[in-house]
């Protein structure tokens, strides 16, 4: 870097700032954003679940009927599954070295997150609507 004329990196490459992973700090940043969101969301949901754990079905149904709790639950589902997707991706990239198996695992995690997260979100909506 001492001699700027010798650098192989083009100005366009530098200004894009995407690096070798080709998506810059996007993954890192969203992991932090969802982590920050999960501090209050996880604590609220934990308190609610510990309370509901000793109650009956009517108490659970009544809790989710409240719009504020339903929104918090939906946001928690979104943040949890997004954060999980990013974390699981890093773990797979660290330990799975064969390219085919790695790609298959990453795709599997992505699809599973949408399927299971979708089921969780739909359950919250069903409870909220009381149908």
């Amino acid at each position: 870097m001492s001699n700027p004329t010798k650098t192989m990196r083009t100005p366009l490459k530098k200004v894009r700032g995407l690096g070798a992973a080709k998506d810059g700090v996007q993954h890192w940043w969203i992991q932090r954003v969802t982590a920050l969101a999960l501090i209050p969301l996880a604590l609220i949901m934990l308190v609610a679940l510990l309370k509901l754990a000793t109650g009956d079905h009517a108490a659970v149904a009544a809790a989710f009927r409240h719009p504020v709790f339903a929104i918090v639950a939906l946001l928690a589902v979104l943040a949890v599954f997004w954060h999980f997707k990013l974390g699981a991706q890093v773990v797979i990239e660290d330990y799975v070295h064969s390219e085919g198996l790695k790609m298959a695992s990453l795709l599997g995690v992505t699809f599973a997150v949408f399927v299971v997260g979708g089921i969780a979100a739909l359950s919250v909506l069903k409870l909220f609507l009381g149908v």
Partner: protein, 128 residues
């Protein structure tokens, strides 16, 4: 991978475990555990949405001694990942890198998570 015999750096088994190493490994382990536990919570959510009969069945399974043990483990993992996650956020902001501080915060996350998990369950049992 290298196909030459090179001297290897000392690996895990010869290190005296620094607490920061343990706390880092625990962060990943609890993360994986929480991911699996999320499946369990989703099952509970589906049961609640399905109606009182299926909910009662799932409550019975989760309320068994094994279910409670798993859920307590989940609670501890959540508190640990939460506390250690706050450590990570502090590092990202540029704080807490000195060795004494890093060692202290690692112990704080480990001991704090156990205390908070036990406290949460005591409150849950008392709060009927």
């Amino acid at each position: 991978m290298a196909n030459v015999e090179r001297p290897l750096s000392p690996h895990l088994q010869v290190y005296r475990w620094p607490v920061t190493m343990a706390s880092s490994i625990l962060h990943r382990a609890t993360g994986v555990g929480l991911g699996i536990g999320t499946l369990l919570l989703t099952w509970w959510l589906v049961a609640a949405a399905a109606g009182p009969e299926y909910y009662a069945y799932v409550q019975m399974v989760l309320g068994s001694w094994l279910g409670r043990l798993v859920l307590f483990g989940f609670t501890w993992a959540l508190f640990y990942h939460l506390l250690n996650g706050i450590r990570h956020l502090a590092w990202d902001a540029g704080y807490g890198y000195s060795l004494p501080v890093a060692n202290r915060s690692a112990w704080l996350a480990i001991v704090g998570s156990v205390v908070l998990a036990v406290l949460a369950w005591i409150i849950a049992y008392a709060w009927k």
